[in-house]
Structure formats: C-alpha cells, structure tokens
C-alpha cells in the first residue's frame, strides 16, 4: 500500500502508526498564544494615539470562532485578569468584557449554528468595535469626542488584523495536533 501512496498512513498531522498527539501541547498552545498576545502591546513605545490592536482579545476571538468548543466558556475570566495587568485600562475591565464576549458568542452560536468565514469576521468586527467603544467609555479618564475620533485608526487596524489572527490560529492548531512518537 505504501508503495502506491507513501502518504497512505498519514493524515494532516503526520503519520498515524506509532504516533499520537501530545496532550500537553494540545492543551497548552491556545492558552499560551493568547497570553503572548496579551503581553505584546506593551512593547511598542507610547504613541500619541491608541494604535496597537488589543491583540489578546483578537487571539481569544480567533480561537473561539475558528475552533469553537476548544476554549471553555469561562476562559475570559483568567485571561481577562492577566490582560488587566498589562492593558492600562482600569482593573477588572477585561475580566468583565471578555466574560461577556465569551457568553455572547455562546448564545450567538446556539441561535446560528452554521456560520461561514465571512460571518465569523463580521461577528469579530462587531465584538471588537463594541469592545473598543466600551474601553473608551470606561477608561477611567474623560471620554472626549477627540479621543473617540482618535480611536478610528485602531478600529480599522483591529478589524483588519482578525483574518491574520484567524490564519495564525489555524496554523497553531496544526502545530497543536501534530503527532509525536509514542514511547
């Protein structure tokens, strides 16, 4: 059989004989990627306007929408707690909003079980825009019209970065389920 097709005993994640998924990697990769995305916006030095997308939320959304059922509904609580330490918003903002986002998508999924990529992007865009608006309202500072206008570049960038995050998640998902030699 191998002579006819050398890939006959493999699937997308590698050979199936004497190989198995790593339990550690399968559980670790989604959380680790979101944690890294949470810390990343700290690195660019202070710009005059909020420009860097909230990468933690974008990665959470991507994992949730591209691989539904993988992250538990309560994933927004611990991850939001970590985001609050780095984001600069008042403490508790991400715990609150990320939990609402996870619950909201869960409800949306029961209403509309079949969704396409474009619908996913639309959902993500809606969530992102309302999250950034909530962040503007509940920033702890005075929400001025000027700071709202200054948000628009971030709106556009964040909505546009979602497809990239979705592709990244698809790639990480392949890494996550790679088959390793069973000892």
């Amino acid at each position: 059989m191998e002579r006819n097709d050398p890939r006959s005993r493999t699937d997308a994640y590698g050979s199936r004989i004497n190989r198995s998924h790593s339990r550690l990697l399968a559980n670790f990769v989604p959380w680790a990627s979101i944690v890294i995305a949470i810390v990343l916006p700290v690195f660019p030095i202070a710009t005059a306007m909020p420009l860097v997308p909230p990468l933690g939320l974008v990665m959470l959304l991507a994992w949730r929408l591209v691989r539904p059922g993988l992250l538990p509904v309560w994933a927004g609580v611990p991850l939001g707690l970590l985001d609050d330490l780095y984001s600069g918003q008042p403490f508790g903002f991400a715990v609150f909003t990320w939990s609402l986002v996870m619950l909201g998508i869960e409800i949306l999924e029961t209403r509309m079980p079949w969704r396409s990529y474009w619908q996913d992007w639309f959902t993500a865009a809606m969530v992102i825009v309302s999250y950034l608006l909530a962040g503007w309202l509940l920033s702890g500072g005075q929400p001025t019209v000027h700071s709202l206008v200054a948000l628009f570049p971030q709106f556009v960038l964040t909505v546009l970065i979602f497809p990239i995050a979705a592709r990244l998640v698809a790639m990480l998902d392949r890494v996550r389920l790679t088959r390793w030699k069973v000892l």
Binding site: V42, I45, A48, L82, S87, G88, F91, G92, E106
Partner: protein, 296 residues
C-alpha cells in the same frame, strides 16, 4: 464552522454538570469583573501593586526590546542621513555658526543672571535627577496614555515625581513598583499641567485631549493673545514640576486658548530622567481638598 457536539451533553450527568458549571463560572466571572471595575473607578491605585509586579515580570524582555528599538532607530537615522548629504551638510554648518553665536550670547545672559540673582540673594537650587532610565513600554492598545519606566521604588522613584527627557516634560509618575513604574503621559485625558508662554508671563493649563494634542486653556480670559508657534514651558505652579521646562508648541488658536503639540514625544525619547518633586510642601497643599486644613 459547524458547532461541535460538546454543547449537547446527552444523558451523562458528568457532562451536564461540567457544562453547567462552565456557564456559572463565566457568569460569576463577569460579575466579579464588574465589581473590580467599579472598585478601580473609585480607588484607581488599589491594584497598582499587582500591575507593578506583572510589569516587573516582563521587564527583562521589555528592556531588551527598548535597547534594540533605540539601536535600530540609530541605524535608520544613519542611513537616511546620507540622503542629500551635501546640501544638508552646508545647511547644518550655517546653522551651527549661528548657534555658536547665540550660545555665546546665552553665556553672557547667564552670567548677568547669576550676578543679578547674587544681588537679590536668591539661591539656585541644583536639582539632580533621582533616576535615569528607559521608557520600556506603554499602554499602546488602551485609550489611556501610560508609559512604563524601567526604574522603581528601589531607585528612589516616588509617586508624583516629574519625568523629563532632554527635550522637555514627558509626564508624571503615577504608580511605583519595586523595579518599574507607571508614567502618566502629558497626552492622557487626565493630565493637567500648569504652563506659561515662554516669552512672557501668560499662564495657562495644558490638558491632554486623548488624541496626541494638548489643549491650552488660558487662565485669564479676554482677548486671546496666543499665536501659532508660541512655545509653552512649565510655570512651576502646583509644585510638582520645576519652572522653565519646554512642554508644547501652539499649532492652532481657539476661543479660550489653543491646541498645542508636545515637544518631547515619548516615542522618540531614549533615556528619561526622573526628577524630585520641585516643592513638596506646595505639592501637598495643592493635593489637599479645600475643605480640609493643612496640618503643619
């Protein structure tokens, strides 16, 4: 993508309970988040310690990134310097000559200044910076404008101290952890700074607008004397900042003042200096509510 079957728990009690608990935890989490959010509105510094620890946790990475960033900027500047190098060089030589003359004049003025101050028996306070450190990060994705500094309480940094770069004021220390601290930048909507026009004594407040500009609000209303191009420096009122540090350049006039751009852009600074509070007694007085009396 099609939903997974994990939401249908079937007859398995265990699966049913797991699913139900997940929803309960998510709901309780949202509630706790709302409570924490409300708490941090009333007590913004309540979780400062946690944030500081988290910031110190990533500081090896942010320090490295900061040094790489300034290094790479230097490389880029060196490359772009070659563009039209000849004409630029000639222009710089002319400017340098003029600057040398102005410098000599400034020396004369400084000497005269010292002599007059000696006559008046004023003492010049030499302020030495508490710490010199890099801005290692920022809240780049948030509406608020904070920066993180690579020095903390262990270096003597305390809340309220002014932060400045060689060009001018950057901001003020807001929270302090052991090895890092949080800086409230001038462009944040919560930042207010007393300033005066550099060439005369017109006093105003410089407030952050949240979009990178400062709003200059004149204290004495009347005919607006400001013109685009006016430079504003700290006035020293309030006691936090020493007077005479450059803050902003006016770009546009409005009814009650104008809009100004900051002179010391935090994105372009390498090292910043944390200076001691200029007049701690005045700062305490300014921070005390008017209903309460100052204790001596």
């Amino acid at each position: 993508m099609a939903p997974t079957g994990s939401r249908r728990s079937g007859y398995s009690r265990r699966a049913q309970y797991n699913l139900f608990t997940g929803y309960v935890i998510a709901g309780i989490g949202a509630l706790i988040g709302a409570i924490l959010l409300a708490l941090s509105f009333f007590q913004p510094h309540l979780f400062g310690g946690l944030r500081g620890t988290a910031q110190s946790g990533v500081s090896p990475a942010t320090e490295t990134a900061a040094s790489v960033r300034t290094g790479s900027k230097g490389v880029w500047e060196a490359i772009s310097g070659y563009y039209r190098a000849g004409s630029k060089n000639a222009e710089l030589k002319r400017e340098n000559e003029l600057a040398r003359i102005r410098l000599a004049e400034a020396d004369a003025v400084r000497q005269e200044n010292a002599r007059l101050k000696g006559l008046l028996e004023l003492q010049d306070k030499e302020t030495k910076p508490v710490a010199v450190a890099r801005l290692v990060g920022s809240s780049a994705s948030s509406t608020r404008r904070f920066a993180y500094l690579g020095a903390g309480a262990r270096d003597g940094v305390a809340i309220g101290m002014p932060v400045r770069s060689p060009r001018g004021v950057v901001g003020r220390i807001l929270e302090v952890a052991a090895d890092s601290s949080r800086v409230l930048l001038l462009t944040d909507t919560e930042s207010v700074l007393p300033v005066r026009r550099a060439k005369d004594e017109i006093v105003a407040f410089a407030e952050g607008r949240g979009d990178g500009l400062l709003r200059i609000k004149l204290i004495n209303l009347g005919i607006n004397p400001l013109e685009p191009g006016d430079v504003f420096v700290t006035s020293g009122a309030g006691g936090y900042y020493p007077p005479g540090i450059a803050v902003a350049i006016l770009t546009e006039t409005t009814d009650d003042g104008g809009l100004a751009r900051i002179i010391s852009d935090p994105a372009a600074t390498d090292y910043v200096a944390v200076e001691p509070i200029y007049e701690p007694e005045a700062a305490v007085g300014a921070a005390t509510p008017i209903e309460r009396e100052l204790d001596e």
